[in-house]
Amino acid sequence: MSTTTLRTRPPLTPALTAATALLATLAVAAALLALGGYSPGDAFAALFRGAFGSWDRFVSFTLVRATPLLLTGLAVAFAFRARVWNIGAEGQLHAGALAGVAVAVALPGTPGLILIPATLLAAAAAGALWASVPAAMKTGMGVGEVITTLLMNFVALFMAQFLVQGPLRESRGVFNQTDEIPAAAHLPDLIPGTRLHLGFLIGVLIAVALWLYLTRTPGGFRLRAVGASPRAAEVSGRFRAKPVVWLAFLTSGAIAGLAGGVQIAGITHRMYENLSPGWGYTAIAVALLARLNPLALVVTAIVFGALSAGGGAMQRDAGVPEVWVRGIEALVILAVLTVDRSWQALADRGSRG
């Protein structure tokens, strides 16, 4: 066909998609809040103040909350790029957090320059190890990773429960939590005077590294090809899918594990049951919204971080209960994905002939 058939895709960036869906949903949410007897104005003012009210709020609240979402989101996006549906970031995060705490607690008196890398590496390794089980099952036996990674999440949660109640329980033996990690293992503040720790920077650097890898290297090209069309990758690229699948699993698991390590070294300083409120699952929405683009993911993670931080403020300042806040967050996620999809459909309509 001639040159005129080229698709005209609206030049919408993922960030714009996110913003629009967010606004559309806020309008719906406002109506619901009003029906529930809460002032939508107060609620949204609180949401905004909580997330962006001041430099300190933005950095200490929004960015801190965005950090685990950024890392798990990158883990999910990288795997999805290779058509590896890793739903197991939650479990890999827990595995990473456990390993990180175990290493940090076992090495008291080690200087931070050694202890911090050791903690984070242990976390990444544990995450990769956790992901290697579904990887082996997929490549070896053809077992679908959606089920296996999901089930491995539950295994990780129960393992965390068992370890903090037993072998890793704090030395006083009172609470179901580990000992606090040595101060040397605490991640330094990224911006002095705020609560933002090094973990956010680590996340941004990984985002840039993944983006460079995917777009600029032969390996990234191979991974994208296998992800976009395994058959074409095999026939046209002569790529074997198996090594790519392994790479995707292990890297994804390592990044998710690192998310756990960063969280314990940066914020909680110890491990306990239910460390994560489901970051590994929210990460899927964060990644999809960013269209699996690592750089865009920095933005979408911050959007979700802001939503989450603002949600806390909605409770505090506007008296909106937790369940409402969660419901509104879920609405936003749904709306964002719907809007994203419909724009794609609109864009595709012009391409048939």
Partner: protein, 571 residues
């Protein structure tokens, strides 16, 4: 559905114009693209109306407008003499318009009967089975149309032709005045094509108007009563099939300045049928560059050889003791009906599949133009440059340290776009935005870029229009016959014209076996019989064939060291 012309509907409206369907000045746009511009078209009851055009000429769009799948931006649609506004395929169906798509819409696990019942409302019971008595109606209708259909086996196990017949019967179960078929022959073997046309003629005899969307001139001329040609969304001509030559049609389709070979070849007014194709074919072969340079001039050592290669797929042998060798500058044509092991052979040659038995001596890099360009030859979401990078990403010249040299790759891709005459705005257009012919040009050009010693071309022109077909064939021929270091080419195709036009030597693939065709049998009739398995063992001419066999298949054994070194040699 709504009918603007009220009185027409009251009259039941089939007699007002005597036409089964009619389009008047229909224009359809997709965003900035005009797919149809002011096209008028009419369909007489009982005729087979061939709709010809290059890929992207608007054939499918026209069929879809008639089928209710697209609403025209301008112009009118009349069915049975009444102006109608079709909003969906369901609307069209209610007016007696049925469409058989290029990709069948059958439930794989259901039997033919179940599929037919499912599609036709009322025949499907709430318990999920065909209504009692429906089977008899289906069988009666099939008899009426002289359609041989398998009703009881799951359709997933049936051949393409059998599935197509079910699809057609499904469409014709209720009163049908207009039957639209979109490229129905694209998936069929030659003998099945004849069967299809016989069925269509039977259907037409019963009074149904048939629109046959196609791009193969000879097929349309063989089956159609009238022919309409579209070019770039516009109407070019409508003629009685008997009064038009293939040359005229080819010219109408491609616009005169292009498609010289085929137009010239067919201009003699000959339909390239099995009986009379020889002259046209010979002329065509003569027109192909360097068609007369044969085996003798090439390197005597084969670049690739298979000896006793057997592969097992799903417990069944897919290739059985295949012997083959190809030399530099030689085109080995492998003819055969799809599904006789060609796929597996290509995979072995491309080094993706290792034989379960036997030896394959192959060069380190193999170019492969796969059969399914949309799914295997290209990644649809990738740009042209990215698709071209498949051939380049491993080469040192396309790397800068750990990085891919995208600037360099894009330059190469842009060059390829120019050289292959790919119609795209830029090399950053995605593959999905290209028409089939342009996609194939990209794949072909890319596989050339590998500068491999062996090129496997698998149905390289299937589904392409005349112009693109000429372009791709001449590139392949030129590649094999020119240059200092021409590769050996294995051309796998079900298109006999193509095989005869390009090949130096020919073999036929039947049920996993590769049968050499002696030179004196290089004609459509003999090869066609071999393809259809009529003469799996050409006994009656045993001596001559055996000699030929030794010559073509066992030949490489004598030069095994050479073959080995070719296999391990530089790419």
């Amino acid at each position: 559905m709504s009918t603007r012309n009220g009185p027409c509907e009251r009259r039941g409206g089939s007699e007002s114009s005597g036409l089964a369907a009619r389009l008047r000045d229909v224009t359809k746009r997709f965003g900035p693209v005009t797919a149809l511009e002011g096209v008028s078209f009419d369909l007489v009851p009982g005729e087979i109306h061939g709709l010809l055009g290059e890929n992207g000429a608007g054939k499918t769009t026209l069929a879809r407008v008639l089928g209710g799948l697209l609403t025209p931006d301008e112009g009118r649609v009349e069915i049975g003499g009444c102006e109608v506004a079709l909003r969906s395929a369901r609307d069209a169906r209610a007016l007696g318009v049925a469409m058989v798509h290029q990709h069948f819409s059958l439930v794989p696990r259901f039997s033919g009967l179940e599929n037919i019942a499912l599609f036709n409302g009322g025949a499907w019971t709430k318990r999920g089975m065909a209504a009692p008595g429906y089977r008899e109606r289906v069988e009666a209708r099939a008899r009426e149309l002289k359609l041989e259909v398998e009703l009881d086996l799951p359709v997933e196990g049936l051949g393409v032709g059998a599935r197509q017949r079910i699809e057609i019967l499904k469409a014709l179960m209720s009163e049908t005045s207009v039957l639209l078929l979109d490229e129905p022959t694209a998936v069929l073997a030659p003998r099945e094509v004849d069967g299809l046309f016989a069925v269509l003629k039977e259907v037409a005899r019963a009074g149904t108007g048939i629109v046959l969307v196609a791009h193969k001139l000879d097929e349309v001329l063989a089956a159609a009563d009238r022919v309409t040609v579209l070019r770039r969304g516009g109407w070019v001509l409508t003629r009685e099939a008997a009064s038009v030559s293939a040359g005229e049609l080819a010219e109408a389709m491609v616009g005169g300045a292009v498609g010289g070979h085929l137009a010239r070849g067919a201009a003699g007014g000959q339909r390239p049928t099995v009986d009379r194709g020889r002259t046209a074919m010979d002329e065509r072969r003569a027109a192909t560059p360097a068609a007369d340079q044969l085996v003798g001039t090439a390197d005597p050592a084969p670049v690739a050889s298979l000896r006793g290669v057997t592969t097992i797929r799903d417990g069944e042998p897919a290739l059985r003791h295949v012997n083959a060798a190809v030399k530099r500058g030689e085109i080995l044509g492998i003819a055969g009906v799809d599904g006789n092991g060609q796929r597996e052979l290509a995979r072995v040659l491309a080094r993706i599949r290792t034989p379960d038995e036997g030896d394959a001596t192959l060069p380190a890099e193999v170019g492969w133009i796969p059969q399914d360009r949309a799914e295997e030859g290209l990644v649809n979401g990738f740009t042209i440059s990215e698709n071209v990078a498949f051939a380049l990403h491993g080469k040192d010249s396309c790397r800068k340290g750990p990085w891919l040299d995208w600037a360099g790759i894009e330059e190469t891709a842009a060059e390829l776009v120019r050289e292959m005459d790919v119609r795209a705005t830029s090399s950053t257009a995605t593959a999905a935005n290209l028409s089939g012919g342009n996609q194939q040009k990209v794949v072909t050009g890319r596989e050339f870029l590998r500068s491999a010693d062996l090129l496997v071309a698998e149905s390289p022109t299937r589904g392409l229009d005349v112009k693109a077909t000429v372009a791709v064939r001449s590139r392949i021929a030129a590649l094999a016959r020119h240059g200092d270091h021409p590769p050996g080419v294995v051309l796998i195709s079900a298109d006999l014209d193509e095989i005869l036009e390009l090949s130096d030597r020919i073999a036929v693939m039947v049920r996993g076996r590769l049968i050499p065709v002696p030179r004196d049998a290089h004609n459509p009739r003999d090869i066609g019989e071999l393809m259809l398995g009529a003469r799996v063992r050409p006994d009656e001419n045993a001596d001559g064939h055996a000699g030929e066999t030794r010559n073509t298949v066992r030949g490489p054994e004598g030069s095994t060291p050479g073959a080995r070194s070719a296999g391990g040699g530089p790419p």
